[in-house]
């Protein structure tokens, strides 16, 4: 079976800054991988290229991205079938990326757009079946109580779980989550990570999660890919990831990855599921 995700020598330069440099990576179907690295190490760019939201530089290697054998991009151009590829890739962003003014249900139902007729999808005429699928997905991530609310009325952790429900409705076989817990409090962060991993396990969905801090990576994942300055510097079992090893990999900048352990933050956790007063979407 084709790999859930295959990056073949992709690079990305923003101006004079090399965000990702000649990276190749293969994720097997159903595999769960943590992508770690300090801010600016290229994690987000890598994930954006994997979903075709960012184009790899042309000319440096084949610059090819495929997902389950369907091309996402190659040689600095989006593939013709990119929408087909995207349908099987669910995305979860750091800043939630829901449409704040639309209801939670609609935000999840749009996951079905790829399977609907173009006109019906554009007009938002979701049928009974699609609605049921959306409700079931929301129940699975524990948001059933809020389906009619506007997405922006939900807390950050809840919005993140809505995004996961959208990936479920999409029927995604690979979920890419870019720093999904970076703007969440510890309790919500744990809940979101649990939801992601449970989803992956129950549905056999491959999962790539980029994380700013290491403790979650070692706790939830068997395989860890570590990036530094746009390159992959380690790809192996999470058991090998120790503070000493990180210092060896990153030198002084390892501090950023190790220090503020989210687990040790004392419980301000009561506020975890309260709606945020400030909207992010």
């Amino acid at each position: 079976m084709a790999a859930a995700l295959e990056l073949d020598r992709v690079s990305k330069t923003y101006g004079s800054m090399r965000a990702v440099e000649d990276v190749s990576l293969t994720i097997a179907p159903g595999e769960r991988v943590a992508l770690i690295g300090a801010s600016g190490s290229g994690k987000s760019t890598l994930i954006r290229m994997a979903s075709g939201l960012a184009l790899a530089d042309a000319g440096a290697g084949p610059a090819r991205v495929t997902s389950f054998g369907v091309a996402v991009q190659e040689g600095g151009r989006l593939a013709r079938d990119v929408r087909k590829a995207r349908r099987q890739i669910g995305l979860v962003f750091q800043q939630f990326a829901l449409v704040g003014r639309l209801s939670v249900l609609t935000n999840v139902a749009v996951g079905a757009l790829g399977r609907m007729g173009r006109l019906r999808g554009t007009l938002g005429l979701f049928n009974e079946d699609e609605r049921r699928t959306a409700l079931a997905a929301l129940a699975e991530v524990g948001i059933s109580a809020h389906v009619a609310k506007k997405a922006r009325e939900l807390s950050g952790g809840q919005q993140q779980r809505v995004a996961i429900a959208r990936a479920l409705v999409q029927g995604a076989r690979l979920v890419l989550a870019d720093e999904p817990i970076a703007s969440l409090d510890p309790k919500s962060a744990k809940r979101v990570m649990d939801t992601l991993v449970t989803m992956s396990r129950d549905h056999g969905i491959a999962l790539v999660v980029s994380l700013h801090q290491v403790d979650y990576a070692t706790l939830y994942f068997d395989r860890v890919v570590a990036m530094n300055a746009g390159r992959i510097v380690f790809d192996g079992p999470s058991a090998k990831i120790t503070p000493a090893f990180l210092t060896e990999l990153y030198g002084a900048s390892a501090e950023e990855l190790i220090l503020p352990s989210q687990f040790s933050v004392p419980a301000s956790a009561d506020a975890a599921d309260a709606p945020k007063s400030q909207t992010v979407s």
């Binding site: 995207r86 995305l91 939630f96 449409v99 704040g100 749009v110 757009l113 173009r118 999808g121 999409q170």
Partner: protein, 273 residues
């Protein structure tokens, strides 16, 4: 505390000398001032300014003022019907502009279409906006004849340019993340617009459209004066017939209607922002 004379003098001497404006700069300033005077004097003659005329025709002014203070509402039904015609012109001029302005607004927003699409459309919209609706009215009167339809067409073209610009600016200010969320599900470009862009810009769009409707009611009144139908036409006729009391009644009706509409639309707009 008092300072002695001697101390004061030494302080003055120690202070740096005030800067002297160089002679060249002073000459240039003088020339600019002289030029301003010449322009003012010349335009006074060109505009045939003649304050004496105001005094000489004081009798006329008095009649006009007196008649305006006695508004004559005896034909108010006619004025009301004409006012409604003006509103109708504004309604259709605005509505057609919104309908056409939505696609043009989206297609001239840099963040949703490539620049080679946005650039030409923006230039066309600039042209629509650059020409005043009065000028369009004169053109359409020549094309379709005197009357309200010419007024609708004039407002439509000009307002389309304005609406497209305002709408596209709203689109350019959106948060791109929700759009990427839709793109990530494999949605089409149109679906990205419908689910990612429209929900974000709709409140602003509604507010802009209502605001343009308000100002179009004012414009539609003026359009009547050049023959674009509605209350402006009637006002023009009464003024030409020296029927100042009736003109006054018409003005009062216009002022009341426009103020009422402004208040209503302001209230609606508040709800959406």
């Amino acid at each position: 505390m008092l300072t002695s004379d001697a101390a004061h003098r030494s302080a003055v001497l120690a202070a740096p000398a005030p800067p002297v404006t160089p002679i060249g700069t002073r000459l240039i300033r003088l020339a600019i001032a002289a030029l301003c005077v010449v322009v003012l004097v010349y335009s006074w003659h060109e505009a045939e300014m003649n304050p004496a005329q105001l005094l000489r025709d004081a009798g006329n002014m008095a009649t006009l003022g007196a008649d305006f203070l006695r508004p004559d509402f005896s034909e108010w039904e006619v004025y009301a019907l004409n006012m409604i015609e003006t509103l109708a012109i504004a309604i259709w001029g605005t509505l057609l502009a919104v309908i056409v302005g939505i696609p043009f607004g989206i297609l001239s927003a840099d963040n949703v279409v490539p620049r080679f699409v946005a650039f030409p459309i923006r230039r066309v919209m600039d042209a629509c906006r650059a020409i005043n609706e009065l000028v369009f009215a004169l053109i359409f009167i020549a094309a379709v004849g005197l009357g309200p339809f010419a007024g609708v067409l004039a407002l439509w073209i000009h307002t389309t340019g304005v609406i497209a610009k305002l709408f596209s600016e709203a689109v350019e200010a959106i948060d791109p993340a929700p759009v990427e969320g839709i793109r990530g599900t494999g949605g089409t470009w149109l679906q990205e617009i419908v689910y990612g862009v429209l929900p974000q810009v709709l409140p602003l769009w509604i507010s802009y459209a209502l605001y343009r409707f308000e100002s179009n009611v004012r414009s539609a009144t003026v359009l009547g004066i050049v023959g674009g139908g509605g209350i402006g036409m009637t006002f023009n006729e009464t003024m030409r017939g020296f029927l100042y009391s009736q003109a006054s009644a018409i003005l009062i009706i216009v002022i009341l209607t426009v103020s009422a509409l402004d208040m209503i639309s302001q209230n609606i707009r508040k709800r959406f922002i």
